[in-house]
Amino acid sequence: MELPCGVSKSTYAQDMAVVHTRTQWGLLGILLAFLCVLPFFLNSLWLGIVIHTSIVLIAVLGLHILTGLCGQISLGQAAFLGVGAYASTLLCAKLNFPLPISIIGAAIFSGCFGIIFGLPALRVKGFYLAMSTLAAQFIIIYLFIHVRFAGGSQGIFVPIPQFLESKINLYFIIMGTAVLATAFAKNISRTKAGRIFVAIRDNDLAAEVIGIRLSYYKLLAFFICSLYAGIAGALYSLYIGHINYEHFSLMDSIWYLGMLVVGGLGSTSGAVFGVIFISLLSKGTSLLASQMPSLGPQVASTIGIIVFGLILVLFLIFEPRGLSHRWEIFKKFYRIWPFSY
């Protein structure tokens, strides 16, 4: 961590702090205040984009804990979002639970689902794990279509409480959850569990040799990841109002993984950067293409994916450590600017 000149730390707690200086506290306060007033300045299109981005951020943070910290590849994150969305809707609509309880219930249910599909991780890793999570993606979507009370391929309508009809209220709930989720993810990486995750990622054999219970911690990572996905899914169902299996496709899982890589694997700020960058870029290019009807409809519908694929490829070739690494370089440059000698 690069700090301004003259900042010295005398205790362990100071050294471990996330926010070090008064300036950083100030910047954090400004950011939070900005997020509070943001919805009043946006039209409904951009408000929707911001809400969707924060939901994606929660999902990607979960994936960050599983893939970025613990090193387990998951190609099924979108399906776990689906589990959360369906569980929360069914708890709310069929069993008449109050909304907050059904969201929490959905998160825990999704987490348990994640443990079930995380079980192969105890035996396999790398490519085989990617395949078994890919299988999870297909099997869960199959369940959405074929389980009787999930509404089949038509999907189900989500009962939305009165006060969430207004998009601004929804924004505050979702953005608040996203901010809390970010803080939580940042702190997980500093706890015992977080350090164990990193140890497992770097060398699982060595981790086991120094006495880490691999099976417990791998499943814990899957649980936390799916918990995040469950929360994101439940919020997503509130945002779109009607869910069916098409909202949770393999393509979304790939997007989440791609955002994580573009942002920088293994750092919380990387996940945030990646989500914001990719979301804005793909939405921006789609909007731009739809402004130019002479290009034809298929250009507008595919340009987002083309740009995303291109960005992924370029980042992996030229900056495999992602945007967060670039950000560190930028900060390092700025710390001593303009007298860099």
């Binding site: 893939t67 090193g71 590849i73 192969p120 396999v124 790398g126 490519f127 085989y128 990617a130 395949m131 078994s132 890919l134 299988a135 297909f138 099997i139 199959y142 279509i145 074929h146 089949g152 391929s153 790939i254 993984l257 791609g258 890589v261 694997l265 034809g296 298929q298 250009v299 595919t302 340009i303 994916i305 083309i306 995303f308 694929g309 291109l310 960005i311 992924l312 490829v313 992996l316 070739i317 495999p320």
Partner: protein, 280 residues
């Protein structure tokens, strides 16, 4: 029994095509330990490039196929040189993401250019149906099965009995040893990608003959994974047998389960249910 035979014949034909496409995947994995999630996009590109040369430009079939193979080989060459080479030594996650990104890029570009419209090849295979036992099926299946089997046999011959096949097997065994006896490991990697792309393209052409060319072709790339998991990532006979088993399983399961349970989708479920267990 007749019904079973009907499903089985369709299944084995699809299986032969799966084997062919999976062969390209295994080839890349064997020589360079890279998992190619873009194999399905080679199939897609193969279908549309074939459509362009044969249906749009009206070239004769043989010339169209030669040009198709050349185009796909060039695509494989460019991909290997530009995107895969910089990743040597990176963790497996980076490689998976890279090939996923490539597959999105290629898929998006193809759909952007073609609009994902359904296209068909001109009729050049006789249409008279063939009867085996009580089952009736169109001659296209027999032709595609035959061509796929010939191509698989050719590739096997290439690996076992030619100089470059030997180079490839040596590279797969150990990069250092292969290098020390004077094999150019890098050009072997490139060759693997070129062949894999060309094989995938032909697979796309054959699939296009059976079911028409559309954006769905790339989904066959995903089917390759259960095939190689079943057959073993590094085994060419495994890919062949795995392709047959998956094709058969898929068609029989879809044939018998779909009418019973309704809704479709058992096809891919049965495939991934088996694909889930790498040890079978």
């Amino acid at each position: 029994m007749t019904l079973f035979l009907q499903f089985a014949i369709a299944g084995i034909t699809m299986g032969a095509l799966y084997s062919l496409i999976a062969l390209g995947f295994v080839l890349i994995y064997k020589s360079s330990k890279i998992l190619n999630f873009a194999q399905g996009e080679f199939v897609l590109v193969g279908g549309y490039v074939g459509l362009f040369f044969i249906t749009k430009l009206g070239l004769p079939i043989w010339l169209g196929v030669v040009l198709l193979v050349a185009t796909l080989a060039l695509l494989g060459f460019v991909i290997e040189k530009l995107t895969i080479r910089p990743l040597v030594g990176q963790p497996i996650l980076a490689i998976i993401i890279m090939t996923l990104g490539l597959s999105l890029l290629i898929n998006g570009t193809v759909i952007c250019i073609t609009g994902s419209e359904l296209g068909t090849f001109p009729q050049f295979i006789p249409t008279a149906p063939i009867k085996i036992g009580g089952a009736v099926f169109s001659q296209v299946y027999a032709w595609c099965f035959g061509i796929a089997v010939i191509l698989v046999a050719l590739s096997t011959y290439f690996f076992l009995y030619t100089r470059y096949g030997l180079y490839m097997r040596a590279t797969a065994e150990s990069h250092e040893v292969a290098q020390s006896v004077g094999i150019k490991v890098r050009s072997t990697f490139t060759l693997a990608w070129v062949i894999a792309a060309a094989i995938g393209g032909i697979g796309g052409f054959l699939l296009g003959i059976i079911m028409g060319v559309s954006g769905d072709l790339s989904e066959f790339g995903l089917k390759v994974f259960p095939v190689v998991l079943l057959g073993g990532l590094e085994s060419i006979p495994g890919a062949i047998i795995g392709g047959m088993v998956i094709g058969l399983l898929e068609n029989v399961a879809a044939g018998y389960l779909d009418p019973l349970m309704g809704g479709g989708g058992h096809r891919s479920f049965s495939v991934y249910y088996h694909g889930d267990n790498p040890y079978i």
